[in-house]
Symmetry: C2
Subunit: 140 residues, 2 copies
Amino acid sequence: MKNGAKYLAECGLRPSMQRLAIYQYMATHPTHPTADEIFEALKEQIPTLSKTTVYNTLKLFVAHGVVDEVFIDRTSERFDGNTELHAHFLCSNCGAIIDTPIASPETVNSAAPEGVSLAKTQLLYFGTCTKCIENQLNNN
Amino acid sequence: MKNGAKYLAECGLRPSMQRLAIYQYMATHPTHPTADEIFEALKEQIPTLSKTTVYNTLKLFVAHGVVDEVFIDRTSERFDGNTELHAHFLCSNCGAIIDTPIASPETVNSAAPEGVSLAKTQLLYFGTCTKCIENQLNNN
DNA sequence: GTACAATTTTGTAACGATTACAATTTTATT
DNA sequence: AATAAAATTGTAATCGTTACAAAATTGTAC
């Protein structure tokens, strides 16, 4: 894992205690957490932590490319410490979010309109995961 | 354009006046409108229309495959009368949403996890559109 | 090391999109 | 025409997110 303080500094961000904690959390939890989940997880470690700080910090991280926002869940903003291009699958049944690699990024990006400046791509899948398919079969 | 009443009936939906009006609006406005935009546009034509009805109807339409929800805008739900697979580009500068065809759907879908049941795919792009690129150049 | 300025954090209040819910209206059925 | 079922309506509530101003922390200059 990257050295948090160094990495944040490289990204132009002062590595405060709160920012470091949030960065560490993102780096060690590839679970696409929401701001609230991060807040709940860190408030024991940092009792004075404010939810506003978590929101502000994540917005700052997104602006500086430290994390990505994932648009797969409309009910709340989800964040991803892995900023490399990859796809996300959401199981409509159990809510699980599964990361998958994209074998051919060029092909995926090739559908973008001509002449635009492309900053980010998101490839999202929705359906039923294998576990839920099995469970549904067993319950019949 | 499809016959609205017939099409809704085919989808298992009773073609009420409100539903027809919302369907017609979607069929004639490929602008990925929000529930509120549809409500504002239709309330002259149907003065008794309730915003709740628009929300309910759109949710029903999504459940019956009449329209799709597009996840490109986190601030509000956007809907698309075109349920064929295609990509969306959002200009972070002017907010324009551009539709583009996907030349190779198989390749785009091939990154989905193995064994899942895939119901929907969304390919989203974010960046700056050509108009905004030009404007930015001219203003320097 | 102290004083001042800049940045960050915090808590509360506000906002806005969406949903819950119960009442009313419309439509279908007998 | 009477009744039941379905759709619509309006209001209130919910919940994620943001605005804002005060407090705390950090960096800089002397």
